[in-house]
Symmetry: C2
Subunit: 324 residues, 2 copies
């Protein structure tokens, strides 16, 4: 076994961190390492936490870590930051908040920022999870900042998905609820001491009662979590949240639905690997050779349309490949 692979499987933090960074930076070598690592994955339970910005996901994740540590679970946390193509870094705030776990060798926290291409972030998240699985973490928490298709792609890597909502975030949140309904296994209404929390809870419950999803045996619970800085209830609320996730895990195992989740996860992984193997090399060579700019010029001047250009590029790529 490769020495870095062995080290990661032994739980070595430095080796794991380095591979995650290489994945993020899309170093060619990272792919080969993930291939070797893959046989050592598949034993962790993976929790996805998603919801709108400002919903307080990091605070909940932080509290969930504390709760799970009480039960002596080892934990990996991956915070995914979709806006960092620009800042080029991790979510400083989150790191600071979770700092108190930094000294705990049972907790491994890393952040991931977007780098470039199509489907790239979700693929990188999937691979970073593999690294944490190989490290032998019992539970891996994937937290996404933001809401949209990409976040949904990311939580497809999880076995159990927690959707966090807060009262009073306006109409758009309302229209999104139907979408979130489809991916949520557990709902958390955070900042539940605020006005509108009861109403949000009731709306969720009535939507859940109407949903065809609940007919197949699992009705996502709605966990109310009060403000972290208010006295009374917060720790109990978090314990309830952890319990609901655990119950969902048990349900998945007992109902045979766990296999369906694994299937969904495997399909997502294939799609992302295909983008990496098929699409990215073409884009890369176009950028390197300066052809992308030349083609853009043609399109800009309406001398060609993007599809004809894409077909030409694809054709060239095939010809080049069949020659080698």
């Amino acid at each position: 076994m490769d020495s870095i692979i062995k080290k990661i499987c032994d739980g070595d933090v430095r080796s794991a961190s380095r591979l995650i960074r290489d994945i993020e930076d899309k170093l060619p070598d990272a792919k080969a390492k993930i291939k070797k690592l893959y046989a050592h994955t598949g034993k962790s339970f993976i929790i996805g936490i998603t919801g709108a910005p400002g919903a307080g996901k990091s605070t909940l994740t932080d509290a969930l870590i504390t709760e799970l540590r009480k039960h002596h679970k080892t934990i990996g946390v991956l915070a995914v930051d979709p806006t960092s193509p620009f800042t080029g870094g991790a979510i400083l705030g989150d790191r600071i908040r979770m700092q108190r776990h930094a000294e705990d060798s049972g907790v491994f926290i890393r952040s991931l920022a977007t780098r470039g291409a199509l489907g790239g972030l979700s693929g990188a998240a999937g691979n970073a999870i593999h690294v944490m699985e190989a490290m032998g973490k019992d539970i891996i928490i994937v937290e996404t900042v933001g809401i949209g298709q990409q976040e949904i792609d990311i939580v497809n890597h999880a076995h159990s998905v927690v959707v966090v909502l807060v009262p009073g975030m306006g109409d758009e949140i309302q229209t999104m609820k139907a979408g979130l309904m489809e991916i949520a296994d557990v709902f958390v209404v955070n900042k539940a001491n605020r006005a509108g929390a009861k109403q949000l809870q009731m709306e969720l419950s009535s939507m859940l009662n109407l949903s065809p999803k609940t007919a197949d045996g699992w009705k996502p619970p709605v966990v109310m979590v009060g403000d972290a800085f208010e006295p009374g209830g917060f720790a109990e609320n978090i314990a309830q949240m952890a319990k609901s996730i655990d119950e969902h895990h048990i349900y998945l195992r007992q109902s045979g639905k766990f296999k369906e989740r694994l299937q969904r996860k495997a399909m997502a992984e294939i799609k992302e690997a295909l983008a990496a193997c098929l699409l990215e090399p073409v884009l890369h060579s176009l950028i390197e050779s300066g052809e992308l700019e030349k083609y853009s010029e043609k399109i800009k001047n309406r001398k060609a349309d993007p599809y004809s250009v894409a077909e030409e590029i694809t054709e060239k790529f095939f010809q080049k490949r069949s020659k080698t």
Copy 2:
């Protein structure tokens, strides 16, 4: 000229709507029509409006339409809803809100929901914009609901990007500001009569003063917009927002930066067309043949890793293609 192409260029609403629906549904024929349509695009000014859920983008878009209509501009509006893979439809709320423009033949409003694959939504948005351009709309407004990489991909289709913020949306919004800073040409602080609006304005201004971006000649203005239902100022605020966008347009034209934007837009279009021409056919045939499920099974049982599978699929695809 194809009769449907001719009709769209003549501004026919039914033909345009049908093609947008075909794009959304990924009908194979839609691609061929976009190719033919492309020569008739490139004359509209395209405004992207983005920001967190609940920021009030639809209300602002609605008011902006009214303002631009005073200046006799014809308008296309594309509302992109990232959560609708689940609901399968458009954003009902937005449509209702903009209903009052439905009788105005100078305004064409359509919504777009996600359908499936990688990069698909941004590509579909780009093509729907092409349809509206071919219709001869002076101005096209693309509104994205959500915040994340995908929304950024979508606003890459725009010439000028408005980022909408509201006071008091928590820490995550704060960390996102740095990212939004990079894409914003105009900032709007909505609900500016709320507590914290002045502070948000000041924070934005000081970040803008430090930003290297503003050194190249355009400093994004921060437009304060009061609550729509409060007396005084709203209409003037919207007029100011429209003016700021117009000034940015003039700046782009006079500085030569407009060409850079067109280049960025063309590159995005090539990348999306490549995903459609190269990646999607492979995925499609994998699903059709049932191979995707077979491969997923292997991965699920750790008998293969996703990259080896992707390489095998790619290899098969090349072999099949070189035989034909």
